[in-house]
Amino acid sequence: MSTAAQAIHHEEHHQSFFERWFMSTNHKDIGTLYLLFSFLMLFVGGSFAMLMRAELFEPGMQLMQPYFFNEISAMHGLVMIFGVIMPAFVGLANWMIPLQIGAPDMALPRLNNLSFWILPFAFILLLSTFFMPGGAPAAGWTMYPPLVLQGGDSVAFMIFAIHLMGISSILGSINIIATILNLRAPGLDLLKMPMFCWSWLITSFLVIAVMPVLAGAVTMMLFDRFFGTNFFNAAAGGDPVMYQHVFWFFGHPEVYIMILPAFGIISEIVPTFARKPLFGYKAMVYAIACIAFLSFIVWSHHMFTVGIPLGGEVFFMFSTMLIAVPTGVKIFNWVATMWRGSMSFELPMLWAIGFIVLFSIGGFSGVMMALVPADFQYYGTYFIVAHFHYVLVGGALFSIIGAVYYWLPKWSGHMYSTFWGKLHFWSSVISVNVLFFPQQFLGFAGMPRRIPDYNVAFADWNAVSSIGGFWFGATQLIFVGLVIHCVFFSKQKAASRAWEHAYGLEWTLPSPAPHHSFTVPPVVDDSQLAHGDVSH
């Protein structure tokens, strides 16, 4: 045993609870912390959603004041994006990237600890704004000035919270890039890496490029609000539309930050349960890189109605439609991987197929709103709400849940209840459609988003959507029970290779994965990679 391994072995047996969970530098522990945090935030953000759907269950004002509705709708977006989807993917990256590339840990373990522990403080700051005079910021997650600047002093807390979230994401991404580029096991070339690692490598570069831009935008807003500058103040010669440009230069790549890791997860799950190597591995890598590049040149499609020149609108329309090409490559390759495979439908595969179907629905409506004339109709309606929830719930969240079902046996060493898992899946996949499909009808009919009350003409589909919302929310309690039972009470042990055709370095380790793994670099066998031998 190497001296480093001896030291690690020694350390492992002398960690108190506090040292292990608060001062941890172990990638598995920090990954677990990220996942638990995002799970907690899912229920915080989800409770805001339940409140909104309760208010929207029927026309008229029932439960809350309109301003409070605006507060929870803004906070719902911020919590779900920065507190649920992003940390969940970072948690999965922390757990799986070192295992998949044969590294002993993340490259910068103490930085990893810092990245995580910034987050709880950021969200305490953000959520504490509910209890401040004037209430929480209520101008939507996009925080457009001048509306957001009319809020109270809580604006400063929101901005500082966003700075902290940004720092956390940037440090996490630096760590992921440094780990993947420097700590891969000998013989594991970049173009032999698992797709999940590839998706996160590219996502990390997106984070590095755009989170500082969001930080710049909210810094200017802070100066406008408290230090007398006029970056976005039209009355003093500033330009509020500039905020929208800067924000969406961040905001559109942010959409891909929330979906590219999902592509990686689906590319891991589908070959396992189709019992075939991934179809078109290199094409999948290039497609992700292509989507990442295109994400930087499409931002103004969020602003078609703001009044940009016709040439600009045409450019952003075509560049946006172009994204459908690499995305189509990915969908095609997943289906081609399944084609004539010896498929079985264990839980991760169900969630992966659910992802492909629901994400495609969300993607198609995205192509619809890329068309400038059509977008003038859709802009600011519930059609947009339906679109991004299909992509983020049916897409990102489904992939995260699928990933948990796929790797939970590796993490916990136990198998879970298939019955409750299937109940969770079918209940989720039906309720999510009951929740969001009617919102497309409402959007077509012209119901505006971000309103607490509406015309009686929209009553029926809103009631259906609310029922779907409560159903989907309640269904996730099954997931909580299933995970707790699997980790603490399940008696069914998981094998090292928990799934029959699961390939990749993580499956060469025992289940549960030991606290310290790959202290000696593993030997990489090309034929044992999830995407098969791609060296020829």
């Binding site: 480093a4 490259a107 930085l111 440094a178 710049g216 500058t229 970056f231 010669g237 000696v520």
Partner: protein, 81 residues
């Protein structure tokens, strides 16, 4: 002291003529006098971690550039001249 070196090319003939020579054994003193060599795996890991720190600083620099660039852009576009 003359050392017997057995190379791959003359291994067979050397083995045939080999007789025990006390100079072929390393004494405890000789072993202690040798410079200790670190574990190869540890050295390699340390080298890679140093590379990772360099990568981290470079990527951090890129992030800082984007932050400053957004402020500069805000300065020239947003502030009236």
């Amino acid at each position: 002291v003359r050392r017997t070196v057995i190379s791959n090319s003359n291994t067979i003939s050397a083995i045939h003529g080999l007789t025990f020579n006390k100079n072929m054994l390393r004494t405890n003193e000789a072993i202690s006098a040798e410079t200790p060599k670190p574990d190869l795996a540890d050295t390699e890991l340390a080298r890679r971690k140093a590379g990772a720190r360099r990568t981290a600083w470079i990527i951090g620099g890129i992030a800082a550039f984007f932050f400053i660039a957004s402020l500069v852009q805000g300065h020239f576009v947003g502030i009236p001249h």
